[in-house]
Amino acid sequence: MPDSPKRRDFLGLTALWGVVIAMGTALAGVMRLPKPAVQPGPLRVFKLGDPAQFAVGSTTRVETGGFFLFREEQGFHAISSVCTHLGCVVAHNEGEGFACPCHGSRFSTDGSVVGGPAPAALPWLEIVLSPDGQLQVNAESAVPKGSRFKV
């Protein structure tokens, strides 16, 4: 039997496309599931107590928050201790800056990269005074390098 000329099957075409669109919508909805709508874990905002307990010229490592708190004459600043290369915890050397043990990234005292594979400087974190008078560092919010918080 020779092939008969194709006749448009409108119903058939609509049906197939209907399936494709329906399944596509389902897929799109399903694909949304793995991306979290809310971040688990507590907000990374850390209250550190009375600002007066930090002596001028002191460096405090806040392990739970993943940052270092510095107080100088010009005021407070906090620098993240999470290496920008692959997330290891950097060590702080007084006067020299920061060094990451994992691949040898080195940062100067203000967080800029001076060596190693780190692609970006260590972020400076936002500091505010909480309503109850405590020093509060927001580890999720970065501020420009060099900003100090004066009490």
Binding site: D50, A52, Q53, A55, V56, G57, S58
Partner: protein, 480 residues
């Protein structure tokens, strides 16, 4: 190409099957027959049998099941399998048998039942293990290896106030606590919120893992107690660049302090595990009795200031340390001045603030310290300060007479730092001029008044010295 083409494969299969079966059997034997703990249990069975007094006891002994035993204590989040080998640990009859069958020494399990405590809460170690090597977990990937027997009393402090324990229970620990206070360790190290800030706070020292210590120079077993012992013997040898003075301790003292360090744990034990004396201890911390100035001095000040009667040069600080109990000094200062000095410290130097927000001393404690310092000499009424003169003339005089010790910048490495903001705030003009005039006995500060410096010159010096006064707070000197 005749013959069986599969022959080589059949050979490989046979050999590998034999190897497989062999190793399966070997693994089964290793686990079910030759495991250490099974041997121990078999021996214990024999011991029970030999100690059996009647037929029922003999039958029980013979039927003792050879199985893994464990103590599960949900409140402490532990599962301890030590009793798999230590079957006789709470059996009072097991006094004359070799370990691991011997009963626990000092009859401790009579008051610390195994079912309630487990073992690792006091002894540390890897409770889940079924052989001694892995239970001890030293030089192993485990954070808390088994505490050596001589240090085990460190954990008593988690539930008890060691000083309230019967004599002989925790001698080393009590000695360690006393040494800590006597040697003035709090001068640099905070504990329970009180102390200096030159060294790290010690509140959780006992729970630090070996990875949290600098072990580059540590010889011997890589454990925290070995670190403590070596650190007490030679701090700078273990931590390069350490400012900690070598305390000159005997071996028993080193061990006592090591036990004390191991006992410092911020543990979250359920309330029913805390002994009443521990709760008393915690209460006493919140409601401290009347502070003893002399004891406070020893605890917090003596490490740097020694007796306080003389100033001294500290090699490690590369700085002079003032004699704060010097009679001439105390005579010239009033109580409020002294209190402010103690509270605020000397920022920029090794003297930290000791007030409630900094070093953690309460106002009552500061007052007690001041009272103790006051015993050196009663406060005198200071002659009034001359009016402030000309700073330029003062500068010239200062350069000539004062800068040699106090430094032209007032930073004073071998003499007090006159430019220090707390000094400027606490000291009155009268105090400064009196010190220049009359000097300070028993220190290198001469009496310039007797050396010919006139009152107006003192006024000039005053004007120069006050240039370093911070502009913010109202200077006390300007109050009447």
């Amino acid at each position: 190409m005749s013959g069986d083409p599969s022959r080589p494969f059949k050979w490989v299969t046979v050999i590998c099957s034999v190897v497989t079966a062999g190793f399966l059997v070997a693994a089964a034997v290793r686990e079910n027959v030759s495991a250490d703990w099974r041997g121990h249990q078999a021996v214990f069975r024999g011991i029970l049998l030999s100690k059996a007094k009647d037929d029922t006891a003999r039958a029980t002994a013979r039927n003792l099941p050879i199985e893994i035993r464990q103590v599960v204590v949900p409140a402490l989040h532990t599962v301890d399998r030590c009793v798999t080998c230590h079957l006789g640990i709470d059996d009072p009859r097991m006094t004359d048998v070799p370990n691991p069958h011997r009963v626990h020494p000092k009859k401790l399990l009579a008051i610390h039942r195994v079912e309630k405590f487990g073992c690792t809460v006091c002894h540390q170690g890897q409770g889940a293990a079924l052989n001694f090597e892995e239970a001890k977990a030293e030089d192993y990937f485990w954070d808390y290896p088994l505490l050596p027997a001589k240090f085990t009393e460190a954990t008593c402090a988690s539930c008890h106030d060691p000083r309230a324990l019967p004599k002989g229970s925790a001698e080393k620990l009590v000695l360690g606590m006393q040494l800590f206070e006597q040697k003035g360790c709090n001068g640099c190290h905070k504990l329970n919120g009180k102390g200096g800030q030159l060294g790290p706070a010690l509140d959780n020292e006992g729970l630090k893992t070996k990875h949290q210590f600098v072990r580059a120079n540590l010889k011997g077993s890589q454990t925290n107690w070995n670190w403590f012992a070596e650190h007490f013997r030679d701090p700078a040898g273990i931590v390069a660049g350490s400012l900690m003075p070598m305390p000159a301790l005997s071996q028993p003292q080193v061990e006592a302090l090591t036990v004390f360090m191991l006992s410092l744990r911020q543990r979250d034990l359920p309330a029913e595990y805390l002994a009443p004396d521990k709760i008393d201890e915690q209460y006493a911390r919140l409601h401290p009795p009347a502070p003893d100035g002399a004891a406070l001095y020893h605890r917090y000040c003596a490490a740097c200031h020694d007796t306080g009667l003389h100033s001294r040069w500290d090699k490690k600080f590369a700085r002079f340390v003032p004699g704060i109990r010097n009679a001439a000094f105390i005579r010239a200062e009033d109580d409020e001045c002294l209190a402010e000095n103690i509270r605020e410290g000397r920022p920029g130097t090794r003297m930290p603030g000791w007030g409630p927000k900094a070093g953690g001393l309460s106002d009552a404690e500061v007052t007690a310290l001041v009272a103790y310092l006051r015993t050196s000499a009663p406060a005198m009424v200071l002659p009034p300060a001359p009016p402030r003169g000309e700073a330029t003339r003062g500068a010239a005089l200062f350069a000539q007479e004062c800068a040699g010790c106090h430094g032209m910048d007032g930073k004073g490495v071998i003499a007090p730092a006159l430019a220090n903001p707390v000094f400027q705030q606490a000291a009155t003009d009268a105090f400064i001029s009196q010190t220049i005039r009359a000097g300070r006995e028993n220190t290198p500060m001469p009496a310039f008044g007797r050396a010919g410096v006139s009152e107006s010159q003192i006024g000039d010096l005053l004007a120069y010295i006050r240039r370093w006064q911070p502009p913010t707070k109202q200077a006390r000197s300007q109050r009447p």
